[in-house]
């Protein structure tokens, strides 16, 4: 149960950080704002986190 909650909490915190901590008017690249880029960056980080967590799951 605790393992499951930690697995869920880290990506949720990443999304929250991107949504709340990055200013909406923090510049833009290719017409896409910094907050949205921060959100997009959560995807590879979540993938790396889940890849690390899946090592213990039996076939």
């Amino acid at each position: 149960m605790a393992r499951a909650l930690i697995t869920l909490a880290v990506p949720a915190l990443l999304v929250l950080l991107a949504a709340l901590a990055v200013p909406a008017d923090g510049g833009a690249l290719l017409g896409i704002g910094a907050r949205t880029w921060a959100l997009f960056a959560c995807a590879p980080l979540t993938s790396a986190w889940l890849w690390w967590r899946q090592r213990g799951i039996a076939a």
Binding site: M1, A4, T7, L8, V10, P11, A12, V15, L16, A19, L20, L30, G31, I32, G33, R35, T36, W37, L39, F40, C42, A43, P44, T46, S47, L50, W51, R53, Q54, I57, A58, A59
Partner: protein
């Protein structure tokens, strides 16, 4: 353009024929591929399913029309669905194995020993899935209308329906899985190619007549509560359970979900395409056509045909998997007592009817569609408290689950009828809280004496 489009569809049918090789017999082989899909095929079926025609057309269309406001909840819920399925998927697979389930109601009926619960969940799921077919046809209609403007639309949609029926009749879920590989390869290729060409021809300054995208404000309470409800709801979608049951084991599920977020590279590329079209002042008849309009601008005709085929395949694969989810809900759970052969015979009739109704809905341009789509997730997530109770709470009963579902429905209906906004919070979350609270109270007041949780049963 048309020849390239037809060649891709013909290739997809050839793949469906090829998928028949090695397929077993019986409902389990047909509806959940006999539980034999390895990590790669499961990835394409399950993760690829995330990227429907709505993603390819609707996401850039939304950015083009409304700016970045909706990106947080749209991207956020798809991203967080991966860890949710990473955690719950292996347990859903084990619970299905334990009770030999093919559908969600199969599991609930076997675990709680209740036909009433089975029927309520099956009928609710069917009602919620019906608009999904119409939405796919609505997207397909947009593409086919541009591809062959001189051909009557009913004929074009009938053709699309026949191809879908071809997939499911040829090899059931195996066909959907194999065609999903082609669809994803073409879709990813199309997005990378169109966005790369857009970046290569990026206008240094916006066209003079272009104004910035109107920013449609999306409140944080709505965005965050919607992410929460929809990410959790993703784990309870009937066809996602079929995909999970089709996987070879928990490790295949976990690996596919760990890789799933990498697939989201498509979103910044799709967003760049929408921004490119806006800066260029590209004429777009409807916002949802912005990706295809950009493809027409940067690609030669035959390549546009391939891109259109990729978009249509995205709709057809989803349609086929929804067909394969609805049919057993009706033939196994609502009308029980049919043997294996009769189930498959009835299932084929149900799937043909579903396709015909969905195409008719798209032709009629059902005005309620957008509302029904928002209802989908906050309805579908309501079986989650019951599933968690089955996992961990041996004293939870079928009556408690039914009471929880009724409380959720009442809470959502009351909010809608009274026009209560509750600060923009997604009504599905209020329903989920009511559902969980009533289930907990009922379990405490009237506990099941002879029950055992899934975790206890698995030892």
């Amino acid at each position: 353009m048309t020849a390239a489009f037809l060649a891709v569809l013909a290739l997809s049918l050839a793949i469906a024929v090829w998928a028949r090789r090695g397929a077993g017999q019986g409902p389990r082989a047909y509806f959940v591929a006999g539980g034999q899909l390895g990590a790669i095929l499961f990835f394409f079926l399950s993760v690829g399913e995330t990227y429907s025609i709505a993603t390819m057309l609707g996401f850039p269309g939304g950015v083009y029309a409304g700016g970045e406001g909706f990106v947080l909840w749209f991207f956020g819920y798809i991203l967080l669905a991966a860890p949710v399925l990473f955690v719950l998927g292996p347990w859903i697979w084990r619970a299905g194995q334990l009770h030999g389930a093919v559908t969600i109601p199969d599991f609930f009926a076997a675990h709680f020993g209740s036909r009433a619960l089975e029927r309520v969940i099956a009928l609710g799921a069917i009602a919620l899935l019906l608009p999904i077919g119409t939405m796919q046809f609505a997207g397909i209609r947009l593409v086919l209308g541009a591809l062959a403007p001189g051909v009557p639309m009913p004929l074009l949609l009938a053709g699309a329906g026949l191809v879908t029926l071809g997939y499911v009749l040829l090899a059931g879920l195996r066909a959907a899985a194999f065609v999903a590989v082609l669809k994803d390869a073409l879709m990813l290729g199309a997005i990378v190619l169109v966005s790369a060409l857009a970046l290569a021809h990026w206008p240094s300054a916006p066209a003079p007549q272009v104004v910035a995208a109107p920013q449609v404000p999306v409140g944080l309470p709505f965005a965050l509560s919607t992410i929460f409800v929809q990410a959790l709801g993703f784990a309870m979608i009937p066809q996602n359970w079929a995909f999970l049951f089709a996987a070879r084991g928990p490790q295949a599920i976990a690996r596919a979900q760990a890789a799933a977020p990498l697939y989201m590279v498509m979103f910044p590329l799709l967003m760049a395409v929408a921004v490119f079209a806006r800066r260029l002042g590209l004429p777009v008849a409807k916002p949802d056509f912005v990706f295809l309009a950009t493809a027409q601008h940067v690609l030669p005709g035959w390549a546009v045909g391939v891109v259109m085929a990729a978009v249509v395949l995205a709709g057809l694969v989803i349609l086929s998997s929804v067909c394969l989810a609805i049919a057993p809900l009706l033939t196994r759970n609502v009308l029980p007592g049919l043997d294996g052969a009769a189930q498959q015979r009835w299932a084929k009739a149900v799937m043909a009817l579903f396709i015909a109704l969905s195409a008719a809905g798209a032709l009629a341009q059902v005005p309620l569609l957008a509302t029904l789509n928002t209802v989908f997730y906050f309805g579908i997530v309501q079986t989650l408290p019951g599933f968690l109770a089955a996992l961990w709470a041996p004293r939870a009963s079928a009556a408690g689950l039914l009471a929880g579902l009724a409380a959720a429905a009442l809470a959502i209906l009351a909010m809608k009828l009274a026009g209560l906004g509750l600060g923009g919070i997604n009504p599905g979350l209020i329903g989920l809280i009511a559902n969980g609270a009533v289930l907990a109270l009922w379990t405490r007041a009237r506990p099941r004496r002879d029950g055992r949780s899934v975790i206890e049963l698995l030892g």
